[in-house]
């Protein structure tokens, strides 16, 4: 497929996943604040750290309080990672690849875009963000569903999946990093009295509560970290995302298992096997924050390699012409 189109489809999915994750953060945080004794302004600031845009936020709004955080994360078009900006960018990418995605996919993205535009205009969501966040999640899931069921599971589909999974792995790791720090400044605090409401919220912001309970039962901090980092089957865990992303890269290149033909494959395979053979005790020994920091660097490396290998390859006209670069 065209490199440019692969690039658009990759980013289209990535931006949609980004919008969905921001909606999850807002939604869960809003629910925590309901019923709290006072509206603690500190409650909203960590959200901006979770998306990694705290510096821009400070520049635009100064101190974090509920309304400005909500506005910044949901509807501010000066924030390139707001829900509004992400959905706009996703639609623009979809528009440039409109001939390569299916009609139901395009229509879903377009409806999503129209919904966000209209809510942003009305301003109502700032007072009651639940309904809006639900709509964002549903729209995102509808797109994933349309993509799964109407697009051939070929190269374009795999690029779309890689985009979504890299974004999701990044967001799960960020939320874990920030919220964990917030809840448990040192892992040695394990065993101290748990703020169960907030631990619940952490699991719910990754929609992991039900599945976590099923696997581990009671909420225990290092089991939560284990679940969100290393669980093999939970679709929002960091390891699951890396595993499936690596599968897709292999499908794209056609390499045999255990081999690689490009940098992307090498880096993705390496991270995957490292995670395959890591236990939560190793993570805690390294330090949760340090582990996540390193994970994010490796993940970025995969994203950069993918960009270089497939999406904006160096001028092909200087390399020999191949019908395919696959190797047996």
């Amino acid at each position: 497929m065209l490199s440019r189109v692969a690039d658009s489809i990759f980013w289209m999915s990535r931006y949609i996943e980004r919008a969905e994750n921001v909606a999850r953060y807002i939604d869960v945080n809003f629910n925590i604040t309901l019923g709290a004794e006072s509206d603690n302004p500190l409650q909203w600031a960590p959200l901006v750290y979770t998306t990694g845009d705290h510096e821009l936020f400070k520049e635009l709004y100064g101190e974090g309080e509920r309304d400005s955080v909500l506005r910044f994360l949901a509807f501010d078009d000066r924030n390139p990672n707001s829900i509004l900006s992400s959905v706009n960018a996703a639609r623009e990418n979809a528009r440039t690849a409109r001939d390569s995605i299916t009609a139901p996919m395009w229509e879903q993205i377009n409806r999503f875009y129209l919904m966000v535009q209209s809510v942003a205009k009305s301003g109502a969501a700032l007072h009651d963000p639940n309904e809006f966040c639900d709509a964002v999640k549903l729209n995102s899931h509808a797109l994933v569903g349309h993509t799964y069921t109407t697009m051939s599971h070929g190269e374009a589909w795999h690029f779309s999946r890689v985009g979504r999974l890299l974004e999701r792995a990044d967001k799960t790791s960020r939320i874990l990093d920030v919220q964990y720090y917030h809840l448990l400044p040192s892992i040695n605090d394990v065993g101290s009295a748990l703020d169960l409401v907030r631990w619940n919220a952490l699991l719910r912001s990754t929609s992991a509560l039900t599945m976590y309970r099923r696997v581990h039962g009671r909420i225990v901090p290092d089991r939560v970290a284990d679940f969100l980092i290393l669980d093999r089957d939970f679709p929002r865990s960091m390891r699951f995302c890396v595993m499936r992303a690596q599968d897709s890269v292999s499908e794209i290149t056609g390499s045999r298992p255990g081999t690689f033909t490009c940098r992307t494959e090498q880096l993705a395979g390496r991270l995957r096997s490292e995670m395959d053979y890591t236990a939560i005790e190793d993570v805690i020994r390294e330090g949760l924050h340090e582990y996540i920091d390193r994970f994010q660097l490796l993940l970025n490396g995969i994203g950069e390699a993918l960009q270089a290998d497939f999406l904006s390859p160096a001028d092909h006209t200087k390399t020999p012409i191949l019908q395919s670069q696959r190797q047996a």
Partner: protein, 473 residues
């Protein structure tokens, strides 16, 4: 139903009776109340909006994309009348193809004194680069949009030929699709010629003009990008044909062969349906500052390694001054009388005709010979004295660049305005494909001027559109 047509109405006679072709449709329409009509109209608009069926308008601040304006009342054409229009279109396009091939090669028509050499020498769209070249099947204009209007006398006239990158066909298909979904009641029991074959016929046409060496020709659609006014159409056609939509930067020319840049290296391309004007096609050959095109494309083309549709240089035949000669062109190459008439046209490049134009500016429509989209037109009878005076200067300073035609009174079709039907002026753009064979899509794009009394139907200037039915009878 209260409906008062003035001039020629496509649906009703001057006595207010439905025309024979519209009887069945009218009978069905009467069973539907005005409320229901309004609801159907809204449902249709919502579909266009949700599906993101848009066009881009340059220079608008509130976003460049506009939802395609659509009116739910169809325009109905009688099957027998259509047969004769179809024959006329076929004849016209065949003659124009012969003309272009002759102009760049033997120039018999000039040597025989039928078309003055001066006219071609001064044509902005004439491409000396194409001299001595003939594309496969000598087909130059593979995709044509011919603008037709019906005057108050009930006669159909050709208003202009669009041979370079005519747009609008995607909306014909979408109009029909949305109409079927939102207004299905009126379709039952009416037999309408299908338009849905078009993408298949377009692909056939493109593949039929591929270089003979290509066994399974790979065709692509070349777009200037998302900001082009017809970007929706480019994606639509690529998707419907199942071919890739590419931008200039997706293509590379190596050793006079055109390739796609893909995630797995370079792939050879055989046919390019380009929606970029000649000027921007290849910076090596035409405009040096173009970043939309592909360097070396024309070398590959001239070497016979890739087909371009429409062929570069085709624009010479839709110069509006050349248009005036089309009846002679048909007669010269086909030895037939034109089936479709031109609108009487005065060439300002001719001193006598120019004098007539300057003396009658208040009765004539003046058009630049190489604009499209309704830009640069003077509607003499509706213009102010200052506007007319400005055109006197324009015409005197560059007479070759202007033609003039009498003001036509375009026919009307009932159109839903608020909750009632009112007459609005329409034109019709049928689409004709020409490769190894000629195909005429039944009907075409009916554009409607939504403002009362207005004759300006261009969507860039506030026009709308209607589904066009060719009845099979």
């Amino acid at each position: 139903m209260q409906y008062q047509a003035q001039g020629f109405d496509e649906t009703f006679t001057s006595e207010g009776q439905p025309r024979p072709a519209c009887e069945e449709f009218y009978r069905r329409l009467q069973m539907i109340g005005p409320d229901e009509l309004g609801r159907r109209q809204q449902a249709a608009e919502l579909q266009f909006r949700n599906a993101g069926i848009t066009f881009n308008v340059y220079g608008h601040e509130d976003g460049v994309e506009k939802v395609w304006p659509f009116d739910i009342m169809p325009r109905v054409l009688d099957g027998a009348e259509w047969s004769s229009i179809e024959a006329g279109l076929r004849q016209r396009v065949m003659a124009l193809n012969l003309f272009i091939d002759d102009v760049y090669n033997e120039r018999r028509i000039i040597k025989d004194g039928v078309v003055p050499e001066e006219l071609l020498r001064t044509s902005k769209t004439y491409r000396p680069e194409m001299e001595g070249f003939s594309p496969t099947h000598k087909a130059w204009c593979h995709v044509n949009g011919v603008d037709l209007v019906r005057d108050k006398d009930g006669q159909i006239y050709v208003l202009e030929d669009n041979l370079r990158c005519p747009s609008g066909v995607s909306y014909v298909l979408e109009n029909r699709e949305v109409m079927k979904r939102s207004f299905s009641q009126v379709f039952h029991g009416v037999s309408i010629a299908p338009v849905e074959e078009y993408p298949e016929k377009l692909l056939q046409t493109l593949q039929s003009v591929a270089p003979p060496s290509a066994h399974q020709p790979l065709a692509v659609v070349l777009t200037p990008g998302v900001y082009n006014s017809a970007y929706f159409e480019h994606t639509f056609l690529a998707q419907q044909m199942g071919v890739q939509l590419v931008q200039g930067s997706d293509l590379a020319v190596v050793d006079n062969v055109v390739f796609l840049r893909t995630t797995h290296g370079l792939h050879r391309v055989d046919v390019i349906y380009r929606r970029i004007d000649d000027d921007f096609l290849d910076p090596e050959c035409f405009r040096k500052d173009s970043c939309l095109g592909v360097a070396g494309l024309m070398r590959a083309y001239r070497a016979g390694n890739v087909a371009l549709a429409n062929a570069p240089g085709t624009g010479v035949a839709d110069d509006k001054a050349v248009y005036a000669y089309v009846p002679q062109i048909i007669k010269y190459y086909l030895d037939e009388e034109p089936i479709l008439n031109n609108v009487p046209t005065y060439l300002c490049g001719d001193p006598q005709q120019r004098d007539h134009v300057l003396a009658n500016l208040d009765k004539l429509v003046v058009k630049p010979t190489n604009e499209s989209g309704g830009y640069g037109i003077l509607m003499g009878p509706q213009a102010t004295d200052e506007q007319r005076a400005a055109y006197v200067d324009l015409i005197r300073s560059n007479p070759r660049n202007y033609i003039a035609q009498p003001m036509l009174q375009l026919s009307t079709v009932p159109t839903l305005i608020g909750d009632r039907l009112e007459p609005r002026h329409v034109d019709l753009r049928p689409f004709v494909l020409a490769g190894e064979e000629v195909y005429v899509m039944p009907g075409g794009l009916t554009r409607v001027a939504l403002n009362a009394g207005s004759m300006v139907v261009n969507s860039s200037q506030g026009g709308g559109s209607k589904d066009t039915w060719v009845l099979r009878n």
